[in-house]
Amino acid sequence: MLDAYIGVLVLWPLVAGLLCLVLRSPGARKALVLLTSAALAVCAVGLASQTPFTANPNFLASEGTLKVAEALAIVFPAYFLLRGLMEKHALVIIFSCLQLALAIWGMMNMNEPQTVQNAVVCDGLSVTLALVVAIIGSLIAIFAIPYMQHHEDHLKLAKSKQPAFFLVLLAFLGFMNGMALSNDLRVFEACFEATTLCSFLLIGHDNTPVARQSAFRALWMNALGGVFLHSGVLLVQKQFGVVDIHAVVNPALWTGASMLPVALIVAAGCVKAAQMPFQKWLLGAMVAPTPVSALLHSSTMVKAGVFLCLRFSPVLTNTTIGAILALSGAFTFFAGSAMSLGQSNAKKVLAYSTIANLGLIIVCAGIGTPVAVAAGIVLLAVHAATKGLLFLCVGDMEQTIGSRDLEDLRGMVGKSPVTALAACAGALGMVLPPMGMLVGKWATIEAAKSNPVVMALILLGSALAVVCWVRFAGTLMSGKPLPTPEKAHHSSPLTNMPLMTMLACAIGLGMAAPWIDALMLPNADAASVFTTGWGLMPPLFIVCLLAWMVGMKVLGRQTAVPQASPYMGGLPSAEPGTFVGALGKNWALTEGNEYATEIFGESGWTKFAGTLAGLLLLAMVGGAFI
């Protein structure tokens, strides 16, 4: 049964995607996406019920699969090189050549490593990623059905590009699952590269100059990440002759050995997780249609990076590179939060916040203790649901009003209440207790208690994030000085269903955080979870529930009564929407948020933070030589 589950999770999305490409009709596509989503969700839950386990499904363990994986290590870079040459993109050419050289050198000179005992080893971390991909990723794929239809209507394309789009989208989910479950570094690497390819294709989907530019930027950065990963893997093979991931992450293996391979592999994770100074590829991903950015930011791609770091965290505990990694993650959290505060473009707010929160997970990986790693896994899951929700909401509102600027989204609660309120819930869920994001952040701070700089950076970032998200929610809920006639917004059930399910996931996961945390801990620690601060959460939920009920009652009462006219500080003679100000004139009222760009401006921070984060990353790799 397990083999079947794994087969569906890893292979079926690719098959369904190919069917989408062959069948081409919208109806078939819709059916296939819905079917795939349901199948993925069921199989992921099936896996979760059996965790932890090991398995050896034939399609992942056979000689043939390993040959394919090795061949892909050459095929992918070759394709990247080809695209780089076609576009004459120097960086892509350089890094894909390096990847190719490494792959070929590895094939020629490397001895056959020890056979991997179990092709699949599923623990809490793997199953969390698989669940996130299967559920959050699937919801985004469903959301994409009406969205892409609308998107193409808007672009007036002669020939639909949707079949290819859904092929890549669905295959992406399969590769992510493969990455989460496989225990062979070579298979892992093939999936890792496959996600690079998928994101490159998805970002460039619209094929506008901006989209192409962003796609190639993502490609060169991730090809560089691929170089890091492959050299790390080759060094591991050379040092130990082992490619079994769970054997490699055993700290006993590394006593007295050079940590360089680990530093390189973790650096690859940082590139994929869009950590500064590599944040630009993720920002560029905004130009792609909303489902793509939602997928890249929440459940796939970037989560591959933090997954890799968390996977190697046992080796990082109490090492120099672990400490520097934690520091660089904390710095990214701080800088990313500061940059998101200075943005009025709603998608950029989301993007910088993603970068920041991934930094937080990287901190957990760098600390590497079981308590920290469990907090990291909680953050991974809750962030995926919450950020996925926010992206879908912003995308939906963008299609409604044709703008993604926060100032234009002012008072959206009047125009499309469901989406706007869902977005508010997501925004507040990012920062307020007792939701998982805040509690995870708090657990990270206390796990980092031996490192004051990391703690202080997280505190700063956390304060910045509160301002950013409360302002975001407040702007959406902003009351109008004058009620405008409301246009009813009709959206497809295939838009609302994923939105609402995602909302339920975000809130449910946020509230389930203490229990997830307990599940992720080794047995010795699990019992103590509820005697520490996590134990505060269950009573808090009850308090929240009561507050919710009281709030709803008051809301009902206040909705029924007429509202006060806005206070403008003017005279009664003022016309509606204006106030009597200087010169006794009627002045029209305008509103706007303060973004404090003189302090949190993007360009200044990009230079400063990019340089500092780059130095930290260099120091991490350099730290391996000490």
């Binding site: 505190l459 910045l464 409360v470 505060l536 808090l540 709030g551 709803m552 006060a564």
Partner: protein, 285 residues
């Protein structure tokens, strides 16, 4: 959770708003005396809230009542966590939720003054949160744990000796949190100024009364955490809180409002760096 903790929690729920109201009363009397006025009776804040509770005024937005109640619940929950000897960081995060709900209520209102106040409220949070939390980290490091009980039982020597540089930070936080000059940026006490009532402009009647109670609860949390600095006995803690209160009232009466830019660019970074230096010092010791 044992029974003592439970009693303490209930005590926190009931006592915190009462003590906070008294603090507000003392504040008004002392302020009046500093200005050579007689001032209102000590219990005036309670009379005010009682009167506000009896008023029914049309809300500026139907969301406000909900946010006000959420803010009140969060503030009281923070009190309860602290009284029960819980995690001080989490207590403060819960209180930050209360402040966020106040800002949300102000955002959902219709007056531009209210929204201006909400923006400033958020920038205030940005400034005081890290400073206050770094101060808490200092206390936690010196005491060896993050929960209130551990910090209060830290030892015979007052924590203050080990962390003199967090004092400017704590004064700054108290000024902001109690909405006192020079940092009464988001809501001033005097409705006739350019801010009107800032973040409170759109709240009225019962909603406003409940916000006032929430504010009392907040003040108790902050003053109490400040009094950890000299936690050698209950009396000493009360004295520390009263001294802090007097300092704040004094500063309020001798200073004029600064701009929010000054707060974000000068006051907050300066006091943060001092507090952080103190933290590093504790770790390097």
């Amino acid at each position: 959770m044992n029974l003592t903790t439970f009693y303490l929690a209930v005590a926190g729920l009931i006592l915190a708003p009462l003590v906070g109201g008294l603090v507000s009363g003392v504040d008004r009397v002392v302020t009046a005396r500093l200005q050579s006025r007689l001032g209102p009776p000590l219990l005036q804040p309670f009379y005010d809230v009682g009167k506000l509770m009896s008023k029914i005024i049309a809300p500026a937005s139907h969301w406000q009542g909900m946010f006000v109640r959420w803010a009140l619940v969060a503030s009281l929950a923070a009190d309860v966590v602290l009284f029960a000897g819980g995690d001080v960081l989490m207590c403060f995060f819960i209180q930050a939720a209360s402040a966020s709900f106040v800002a949300m209520g102000a955002f959902s209102g219709s007056s531009p003054y209210s929204k201006l106040g909400a923006q400033r409220e958020l920038f205030q949070m940005l400034c005081y949160e890290p400073i206050f939390l770094v101060s808490v980290l200092c206390m936690a490091k010196a005491a060896g744990g993050f929960d209130a009980n551990t910090i209060m039982n830290a030892g015979a020597q007052p924590l203050l000796y080990k962390m003199p540089f967090i004092i400017p930070g704590l004064v700054f936080v108290l000024l902001v949190k109690m909405r006192k000059s020079p940092f009464d940026l988001s809501a001033c006490h005097h409705g006739h100024q350019e801010l009107v009532r800032g973040v409170f402009t759109d709240f009225a009647g019962r909603d406003f009364a409940l916000l006032e109670v929430a504010h009392w609860a907040d003040v108790v949390v902050i003053l109490w955490i400040c009094s950890f600095l000299w936690a050698t006995g209950p009396l000493q803690m009360v004295v520390v809180a009263l001294v802090a209160l007097f300092v704040i009232i004094l500063i309020d009466n001798v200073s004029a409002r600064l701009t929010w830019r000054h707060m974000v660019k000068v006051a907050a970074p300066l006091t943060f760096v001092l507090a952080f230096a103190n933290l590093m010092w504790l770790y390097l010791e």
